[in-house]
């Protein structure tokens, strides 16, 4: 088959859904049905192959797989399925995978209906001009109500749902119908095999033997071993060593053509040379312009990562470098703290993203970390007119130099059953939210929209929301704008010394309460030392709260243990080990958790 004809038999699609609506299970069934994997080979949910993803039941890294499907029309199709993450933190990764597709399966739970992330993902897909095919999943559930859900899709999203496939990924129902719709309704790739190479980087990963492996969608032209390629943004050039596809393991092929989804290996050593979102073209036969449609999303939440053992600093840098390669939205730069020594200020899409990176560093790279409380980016206008973006509270200028401070607000969408609207509104008000509007999705369910400071969301908002609504609320948000608010910087002093890593920014009206609450939390967390440790919260020079950790009175083992010296030794080893997990701040030993104390204060 010639390349031009082949192109008409390619379908590139992804699956979008709210978390837990069955996206990964559906992907598994599609792989199984098309024979990409035999049932015996299947581990459940093959696309979630990171240990952490399996544990948390969420997809973090997107994955791609090529499937062969013989349709009812008698033709063989090449289907490229790209899996996407479902969590709100990973909007950017979703947008990358969407840009590589022509269509999307919109999976909606037949009992739960549209949720906040369903909407967020649909809007992203519409922005990318994708053909959206609704799939009502979990129709085997006793409380499934597919007709109601179809109606909801039509009313709320405005999509025609009359042809929506009724499916149960778990039971393998509707898989063939879904694939038929994919080949019939999703358009083939539009580009041309004769144009110069234009390929979209939508992901990459680092292989210790082959260097950076770039995941691409070929939009125009073709690429094969020997092609000299150029990254249009970084202007770096490389010679391709091999190209291949995922079926689902990595398989080398001769050439990637227009419409294909696959990988390129080009001896790329430096992770910074492959920017996700960049366009690859051919040296000497360059495309006129890079591909549009990517939005580079800036981190919304920053925190400090510090190795507990300062000798791990270089290892931490390497770990971040490696993670950054697989994670275009992770930012980091070196910083130092008088309390914690040398570390990195890292930027994340959200709290879950932060937790995942933290866990991966501790688990995969075995570097115990101290994480400082997350902060948003504050925009400070100084009295001299200078505007600063402050990612680290301890960099906040002196109060006298500040004209005003703005903080980022988000537009939060919370979908809940009627009965919980009151609870949701109370929570949002407590978190300085401004009510925008309320839309009824059906007689029973409401989409409550608030403008809220992002900083209020990073402090356990989601947990509070879940517990206040018995788990029924779904939540999504998008950045809205910076607004001026009355903010102050609060400092914490231990034993009279200011601990920079504990400083935080707080709304003036909440400062007093928060200062007291944090001092008392710290008193619980900091163990008794050989001397008394005062804990103070201060705004500028004014102390607004104080607690004291009383001095330990004694610490000595009296027992003799009948000559069992090893037992004594083990006890002391344990004590010494415990100290290693503490950070010495001045003369005070502070446990890891204390640096997150600001997060553990009950807000509402």
């Amino acid at each position: 088959m010639d390349i031009h004809e082949r192109q008409t038999y390619i379908r590139n699609f992804c699956i979008i859904a709210h978390i837990d609506h069955g996206k990964s299970t559906l992907a598994d069934r599609i792989l199984e049905y098309t024979g990409a994997l035999s049932t015996r080979e299947m581990k459940d949910q093959v696309l979630d192959n990171m240990e952490l993803e399996r544990e948390r039941g969420i997809t973090i890294k997107l994955q791609a797989v090529r499937l062969n499907y013989k349709a009812d029309d008698g033709n063989e199709y090449i289907l490229n399925l790209i899996d996407t993450p479902g969590h709100v933190d990973f909007t950017y990764e979703v947008s990358r995978s969407l840009a590589a597709c022509e269509g999307a399966l919109l999976v909606v739970d037949a009992a739960q209906g549209i949720e906040a992330q369903t909407l967020a993902n649909v809007y992203l897909a519409l922005e990318n001009d994708l053909e959206i095919l609704p799939v009502i999943n979990k129709i085997d559930l006793p409380n499934a109500d597919p007709e109601r859900i179809k109606q909801e899709i039509e009313d709320v999203i405005g999509l025609d749902a009359s042809d929506a496939v009724l499916a149960s990924a778990k039971e393998g129902i509707g898989i063939k119908e879904i694939l038929e719709q994919v080949v019939q309704m999703i358009p083939p790739p539009q580009g041309s095999a004769d144009e110069p190479l234009q390929a979209l980087i939508f992901d990459s990963h680092y292989d210790p033997y082959r260097g950076v492996i770039v995941y691409v969608r070929i939009v125009n032209g073709s690429v094969k071993a020997g092609t000299r390629i150029k990254m249009m943004n970084t202007q770096k050039t490389f010679e391709v060593i091999e190209v291949g596809v995922f079926n689902p393991g990595m398989t080398v092929v001769d050439q990637l053509n227009i419409g294909d989804v696959g990988f390129i290996v080009a001896g790329i050593k430096n992770v910074k040379d492959t920017q996700v979102g960049d366009t690859i073209t051919e040296v000497g036969r360059e495309t006129a312009a890079p591909l549009p449609g990517y939005r580079k999303i800036n981190p919304m939440v920053y925190c400090g990562f510090y190795p507990i053992d300062s000798s791990d600093y270089e290892d931490l840098r390497e770990a971040l470098e490696k993670l950054e390669l697989n994670d275009a939205s992770l930012r980091y730069e070196a910083e130092s703290s008088t309390a914690l020594g040398f570390g990195f200020r890292c930027g994340f899409l959200g709290l879950l993203h932060m937790e995942i990176i933290q866990e991966r560093i501790e688990r995969e790279f075995n570097i115990p970390l101290i994480t400082t409380a997350p902060s948003v980016v504050y925009r400070v206008t100084k009295t001299n007119g200078e505007v600063l973006d402050i990612e680290n509270p301890s960099n906040m200028p002196e109060p006298g130099e500040i004209d005003h401070i703005k903080e980022p607000f988000v537009r939060a969408s919370i979908i809940v059953p009627n009965d919980y609207v009151g609870a949701v509104m109370e929570l949002c008000q407590n978190r300085r939210g401004e009510f925008v509007t309320m839309e009824y999705l059906d007689v029973n369910r409401v989409n409550v929209i608030y403008e809220m400071p992002l900083s209020e969301i990073v402090y356990d908002f989601f947990d509070q929301l879940k517990s206040g609504t018995k788990g029924y609320a779904s939540f999504d948000y998008e950045m809205s704008e910076y607004k001026e608010t009355k903010l102050v910087k609060m400092d914490i002093l231990l034993n009279g010394e200011q601990v920079d890593a504990l400083s935080f920014i707080v709304h003036r009206d909440k400062a007093y309460y928060r200062g007291k609450a944090i001092c008392s939390k710290l008193r619980e967390l900091i163990p008794r030392q050989m001397f008394e440790v005062p804990i103070q919260a201060a705004i500028g020079n004014k102390i607004i709260a104080r607690e004291t950790v009383k001095a330990m009175r004694k610490n000595v083992l009296s027992k003799c243990y009948g000559g069992d010296i090893s037992r004594k030794r083990k006890l002391l080893e344990k004590q010494k080990e415990g100290k290693k997990r503490m950070k010495q701040v001045g003369s005070v030993e502070v446990p890891q958790e204390a640096f997150m104390a600001v997060l553990q204060v009950d807000e509402s």
Partner: protein, 385 residues
């Protein structure tokens, strides 16, 4: 590293009338236990052990438990004959301690003990309040304490020690004072004091986890400890080790072997020994122990060769428990190295923190260091290697 032959032996009797609520030592309620088989095995292990020694003469013998005095007079005689058969007793300064619980001795048993060479008795008195004794699971009451000590003296024992505990559930300062009054009125040459520590696999641990153990506060416990020290020092006793007070010349020599990192034999179920740079622990179960011995092998459950680095750290860890501290000469004698070359930096830091101080011979804990001994000892762990 200098190889020394042991001149101290610990012998374990793992039986008690009943286990106390705080106790996690290797001991079992005596009823239905094969005590005679155990004694046979014990004697066999002693003989096997003694055979391998270049010199069987012991300077200290310590029979602990458990409750060694739970043995009847006949069993006691068999045990003591066995010990004498296996080991020689050095003449001058020979110390032979037996642990006893109040109420488990009588004139006949005491006579057997005296004849068998025992010259020091350590009674587990713990407290002088009947209700406290009951609530910690002890079998005796205060009148047993007085009676047993009276009988021991009548049998000719002068070197008597008692254990006292502080920090017990529901114990108050007033009770502590009362216990000290009564203890000092006995005018004994030696007192050991132990703070209650909640160990796993005890009744107290279970209660503690359920939040049902009304322990004194850290401050109260500290006040008790200070009171004990003050009263004993005022009464003319010298604190020679963190937990031990004695009239001059009555220091417990056996335990000093441990504190000086010198070798000792460990005989019996669950007993620990330290011989030729090897620490061992015997099988803990009574039957398992008997079976091993009867099959003709030493009943070792765990054997651990102590590297020189670890031994040097142990030397500091245990040596600094003695109030006289460690001597540079002893260190050099055991390891052939200068103390300052090995631990100079650690010591300097601890001296700076006011926890250690230099003596003529070496270093010792300061008053403050005495209170924070664990902070000091832990600093040496892992520092030589």
């Amino acid at each position: 590293m200098k190889r020394m032959t042991p001149a101290s032996v610990y012998i374990h009797i793992p039986f008690c009338a009943k286990k106390c609520h705080y106790c996690d030592f290797n001991t079992y309620a005596a009823e239905g236990q094969p005590m005679d088989d155990y004694l046979d095995a014990l004697i066999k292990e002693m003989l096997m052990t003694a055979e391998s020694l270049p010199d069987r003469t012991m300077k200290t013998v310590f029979v602990g438990g458990g409750t060694p005095t739970i043995l009847d007079a006949g069993q006691m005689k068999r045990l003591l004959d066995g010990i004498r058969e296996a080991f020689g007793f050095s003449g001058d300064g020979f110390e032979f301690t037996m642990e006893a619980n109040p109420g488990t001795v009588d004139p006949e048993k005491l006579e057997v003990m005296k004849e068998g060479g025992v010259n020091r008795i350590s009674f587990g008195v713990q407290s002088f309040q009947d209700h406290l004794l009951q609530s910690i699971g002890r079998m005796h009451d205060v009148s047993d304490v007085h009676e047993s000590i009276r009988q021991a003296r009548a049998a000719g024992f002068n070197n008597i020690s008692i254990d006292l505990m502080y920090g017990l559930p529901r114990q108050t300062m007033k009770m502590m004072e009362e216990s000290l009054d009564q203890a000092l009125r006995l005018n004994l040459p030696h007192y050991s004091i132990y703070g209650l520590k909640i160990e796993e696999n005890t009744v107290f641990h279970a209660l503690y986890k359920k939040n049902q153990l009304p322990l004194p506060s850290e401050d109260e416990e500290f006040a008790m400890y200070q009171l004990i020290r003050q009263r004993l020092l005022e009464a003319g006793y010298k604190q020679y080790e963190i937990s031990n007070f004695a009239k001059p010349g009555f220091e417990g020599r056996h335990n000093i072997t441990y504190w000086k990192n010198e070798p000792y034999l460990g005989i019996g179920a669950g007993a620990h020994g330290y011989v030729q740079s090897v620490r061992h622990m015997n099988y803990k179960g009574v039957q398992a122990y008997i079976d091993r011995v009867n099959s003709g092998v030493l009943p070792r459950k765990e054997v651990h060769g102590v590297a020189k680095e670890e031994a040097m750290e142990d030397f500091m860890m245990v040596g600094l428990r003695l109030l006289d501290g460690v001597a540079k000469a002893d260190f050099k004698d055991q390891f052939g190295l200068e103390l300052d070359d090995v631990f100079g930096a650690v010591i300097e830091d601890l001296v700076q923190k006011g926890l250690l101080t230099e003596t003529e011979a070496g270093f010792k804990l300061t008053e403050n260091g005495l209170l924070f001994g664990n902070e000091v000892f832990a600093q040496f762990i892992g520092e030589a290697s």
